[in-house]
C-alpha cells in the first residue's frame, strides 16, 4: 500500500464529490494539454508549407476528413473554454471577485465559491459548446 495514501490522478479527476469549480479545474488541465498537443501538431502541419503546394495540400487532406473536422471542432471548444476560464482564473487569482473576508456564520457558505465564479464557468462551457457547433456548421457546410 502506498504509504502516503495519495489518491493519484484518479482522485484529481474525480469531480463527482465536489462542485463545478472542481470540474472546471480538470477541464482546464485537459484543455490545456489538448491545446498543447494540437499546437505542436499545428506547427508541424504548417511546416509542410515549405515543401510546396503538393505537400501542403496532402497535409490539408489529412485534416479535411470527418474525423479531422470533429477534432478541429474539439480544438475550437477547448480553446474557447480554456480562454474563458483562464480569464476568470486570472481575475480571481489576482484577488478580485470574492467580496471581503469576514466573520463566517454557520451554516458556512464560502464566498470564494460564489455565483459570479460559477456563472463564469457555466458561460465558458456554454460558449465553448456554441463555438464548437458553429465550427462544425462551417466545416460541414450546413
Amino acid at each position: 500500500m502506498d504509504k502516503d495514501r495519495k489518491e493519484g490522478i484518479k482522485g484529481m479527476a474525480n469531480p463527482g464529490r465536489y462542485g463545478i469549480e472542481r470540474v472546471a479545474y480538470w477541464l482546464m488541465r485537459i484543455t490545456g494539454l489538448g491545446l498543447l498537443f494540437y499546437f505542436i501538431g499545428h506547427i508541424y502541419e504548417t511546416s509542410s508549407l515549405l515543401d510546396g503546394k503538393a505537400a501542403w495540400d496532402s497535409m490539408l487532406e489529412l485534416t479535411q476528413t470527418t474525423e479531422g473536422h470533429i477534432f478541429l471542432a474539439l480544438v475550437i471548444g477547448m480553446c474557447v473554454f480554456h480562454t474563458g476560464n483562464g480569464i476568470r482564473l486570472m481575475v480571481a487569482q489576482a484577488g478580485f471577485g470574492f467580496g471581503k473576508a469576514r466573520r463566517p456564520d454557520y451554516p458556512y457558505t464560502p464566498s470564494s465559491l460564489n455565483m459570479k465564479n460559477k456563472l463564469c464557468i457555466y458561460v465558458s462551457i456554454g460558449l465553448a459548446a456554441l463555438a464548437m457547433m458553429y465550427g462544425l456548421s462551417v466545416m460541414f457546410h450546413v
Binding site: R103, P104, D105, Y106, P107
Partner: protein, 570 residues
C-alpha cells in the same frame, strides 16, 4: 522495548497552561531543550473548548479595579481560596492579556480599537475579555502558533504519559507510550510541569472533551503528590441537551434569561441583584431547585431541563458575539437561538481541585510543578468564577515556566533513572492492563462509573447518596474490567481507554470521600443534610494522599490575608 530520551524540561499537557509555560521557558533560555508531551495532538487539547472569556482588569479608568477582581474571586470561592494566590492572579493578568494580544490573539475589539470585555457571572464589573465565543480556541491557537517561533521546543504528539519517576526525592523523568507505534519510553528530564487539565469525564454529563480523563492527576497521585479539594466540582448551569456541550456563560453575559415552566425569570428569587449572572454554583442550584419543585421542562430525551432564552438578543448580536454557540445549538440540537429557547441543564464543567501546590505552582516533589486546571494553587476555593480559569492557566503557566527554568539553570547533574521503578511501571501497565483478560466490558464499566457520579455527586449531595456512590464505585472497581481486546501496537486507543478508566477509579474515590467528609455546604459542594457553611470545622483545604487501599485524607490551612469570611449574597 524501553527507549530513553533526554530533555531538560518536560511539560506534560499542552492546554493553555502547558503551552504558556512552554513559551515562557523557551524564551527565557534558548539552550534549554523542552519537550511538550500530550496524549492528543498538541493543539487539540481540551482548552480549545473554552468559550466565554478571560478575566482581567483592563479598564481602571472606567471604574474597574484589581482590588475588586480579588474580592470577587475570593467571595466567589466561598472564602476557601488562598487569598495571596487570588491576589497574584489578578495582579498579573492584565499584562498577560496584552502579551497574548501582542502575540496575535484575535480579541474582539471595541469601536475605539481597544479590547472588548463582557459581563460574566459573579463579577462586579464586566471584565471577561473575549474573542467572540471561542476564547480558549483562539488562545490555544495564539500560543501554539507562537511556540513555532522557537527551535528549542519539541512536540511529542500523542504520547500517553503513565508515571513520574523519582530518585532520592528528586524528579528524574517520566514513562510514556508513543501511541502511533506503541513504543514504551522513559524520558529523562531535570524538571517537570504537569498541565494535564481537568478530569471532568468522570461524569457522564459533562462539557469536557472526551480526552479530559484523570490520568494526569492520577499519575501525580500515584507518585505521592497530594490531590487537594477534589470534592469541589463545578456544575455549569447551561449544558445544552442532549449532548452536554457548553452554552457559555457569555450567553447570559450578553443578556440571556433563564426561564422556568411558568415563564418566570426564576433567578430573581435566588439572586435578586445579579440575576442570571450570579456565580455558577448558585445558578445551578437554583435550576435544580426549580426542577425538583416541579417547575422544570422535559427535554425530548426524557430528561428534566430548563430553558435559556436568547431570542431578545437578536440574530445579529448572536452571530457576532455568540457565533460558536449558535453553531452548536443549530447543529447538535436543531434549535436556532434567535428563534427558540434552548434546553439546558447543569453539567459537570470544572474541577476546582487538583495537584496540591504552593503559590509558585511547585508540587511536593523537588523538580515538579503543576499548572492550570490540573493544579490547585487554590484561587478558586470551592467555586470558580467563569473566565478565571483561562486566566489561571496563563498566569501559572508563566510562573511555573519561569520557576522551572530557574531550577534547571542551577540544577545539579541529573541523577540516574531507577530501573526498578521503570520495571514496576512496565509491569503495571503491560501485565496489569494490556494483557488483562477480564470478563466485563471496560466501556460499559466506564459508563456505569460516570453515571454513578452523575447521580450521586451532582449539584445537591447528601450522605446516603455519597455513600451509595462510593460503594458502587468500589463494587465496579472490584469487577474484572481490565480487558484489552486490541493487541496491536499501533494507535491502540483501546489500551489507553482502559488505562484512563483505571485512573478514573482512584480519582472518583477521592472526590467521593472528600465530599463525604465535608459535612457542610460551601460553594459548589451543596449538602442537603448540612445546608450551612461551617467555618469553624471546615474552613480548610482537603488533601488526599495515595495509599493502596484507600486515600489518606489530611487537612491544609487556607491563607486568609485581607478578607474575613462573611456570608455570600448576590
Amino acid at each position: 522495548m524501553t527507549n530513553t530520551i533526554d530533555y531538560d524540561l518536560i511539560i506534560v499537557g499542552s492546554g493553555l497552561a502547558g503551552l504558556r509555560a512552554t513559551i515562557q521557558a523557551a524564551r527565557r533560555n534558548s539552550k534549554i531543550r523542552i519537550a511538550v508531551i500530550s496524549k492528543v495532538q498538541v493543539m487539540r487539547s481540551h482548552s480549545v473548548s473554552a468559550e466565554g472569556g478571560t478575566a482581567a482588569v483592563l479598564f481602571p479608568e472606567d471604574g474597574d479595579s484589581i482590588e475588586s477582581h480579588i474580592y470577587d474571586t475570593v467571595k466567589g470561592s466561598d472564602f476557601l481560596a488562598d487569598q495571596d494566590a487570588a491576589e497574584r492572579l489578578c495582579k498579573e493578568m492584565p499584562d498577560e492579556v496584552y502579551q497574548l494580544e501582542h502575540w496575535g490573539m484575535p480579541w474582539s475589539r471595541r469601536e475605539d480599537g481597544k479590547l472588548g470585555q463582557r459581563a460574566f457571572g459573579g463579577y462586579s464589573f464586566p471584565r471577561a475579555t473575549y474573542a467572540s465565543d471561542k476564547v480558549g480556541f483562539f488562545e490555544m491557537q495564539t500560543l501554539y502558533d507562537t511556540c513555532q517561533k522557537f527551535d528549542n521546543i519539541e512536540f511529542l504528539n500523542e504520547w500517553f504519559v503513565t508515571s513520574i519517576l523519582q530518585n532520592e526525592k528528586k524528579f528524574v523523568g517520566i514513562t510514556a507510550i508513543e501511541l502511533s507505534n506503541g513504543d514504551f519510553h522513559t524520558i529523562k528530564g531535570k524538571a517537570l510541569i504537569i498541565a494535564t487539565g481537568g478530569a471532568g469525564r468522570i461524569y457522564s454529563f459533562s462539557t469536557y472533551a472526551l480526552s479530559s480523563t484523570p490520568d494526569g492527576l492520577d499519575m501525580a497521585y500515584r507518585a505521592g503528590l497530594a490531590l487537594k479539594d477534589m470534592e469541589f466540582v463545578q456544575f455549569h448551569p447551561t449544558g445544552i441537551m442532549p449532548s452536554g456541550i457548553l452554552i457559555t456563560e457569555g450567553a447570559r453575559g450578553e443578556g440571556g434569561y433563564l426561564i422556568n415552566k411558568d415563564g418566570d425569570r426564576f433567578m430573581k428569587k435566588y439572586a435578586s441583584k445579579l440575576m442570571e449572572l450570579a456565580p455558577r454554583d448558585i445558578v445551578s442550584r437554583s435550576i435544580m431547585t426549580e426542577i425538583n419543585e416541579g417547575r422544570g421542562f422535559k427535554n425530548e430525551t426524557g430528561v428534566d431541563c430548563m430553558k435559556l432564552d436568547l431570542r431578545h438578543i437578536g440574530d445579529d448580536i448572536i452571530k457576532e458575539k455568540l457565533g460558536g454557540i449558535r453553531e452548536i445549538s443549530l447543529k447538535f440540537s436543531g434549535v436556532d437561538p434567535a428563534q427558540e429557547m434552548l434546553d439546558i441543564r447543569p453539567v459537570c464543567h470544572y474541577m476546582m481541585g487538583g495537584i496540591h501546590t504552593d503559590i509558585n505552582g511547585a508540587a511536593e516533589l523537588q523538580g515538579v510543578w503543576a499548572a492550570g486546571e490540573a493544579a490547585c494553587v487554590s484561587i478558586h476555593g470551592s467555586n470558580r468564577l467563569g473566565a478565571n480559569s483561562t486566566s489561571e492557566c496563563i498566569v501559572w503557566g508563566k510562573i511555573t515556566g519561569d520557576e522551572a527554568v530557574n531550577y534547571i539553570e542551577k540544577a545539579t547533574p541529573a541523577t540516574s533513572i531507577p530501573t526498578d521503578l521503570v520495571n514496576m511501571e512496565e509491569k503495571r501497565i503491560y501485565d496489569g492492563i494490556f494483557r488483562g483478560r477480564g470478563q466485563a466490558n471496560p466501556y460499559e464499566i466506564k459508563q456505569e462509573l460516570t453515571d454513578t457520579l452523575n447521580d450521586k455527586a451532582y449539584v445537591y449531595r447528601n450522605q446516603t447518596d455519597l455513600l451509595e456512590g462510593l460503594k458502587k464505585v468500589r463494587e465496579l472497581k472490584a469487577m474484572t474490567w481490565k480487558h484489552v481486546d486490541d493487541q496491536a501496537k499501533e494507535y491502540n486507543t483501546n489500551f489507553s481507554n482502559v488505562m484512563e478508566l483505571d485512573s478514573m477509579f482512584r480519582v472518583a474515590e477521592v472526590v467521593l470521600i472528600g465530599a463525604i467528609n465535608r459535612k457542610e455546604s460551601r460553594g459548589s459542594h451543596a449538602r442537603t443534610d448540612f445546608p450551612k457553611r461551617d467555618d469553624k470545622k471546615f474552613l480548610h483545604h482537603t488533601l488526599a494522599y495515595y495509599a493502596p487501599e484507600e486515600p489518606i485524607m489530611k487537612k491544609h490551612p487556607v491563607t486568609i490575608t485581607n478578607y474575613k469570611p462573611v456570608e455570600r449574597k448576590y
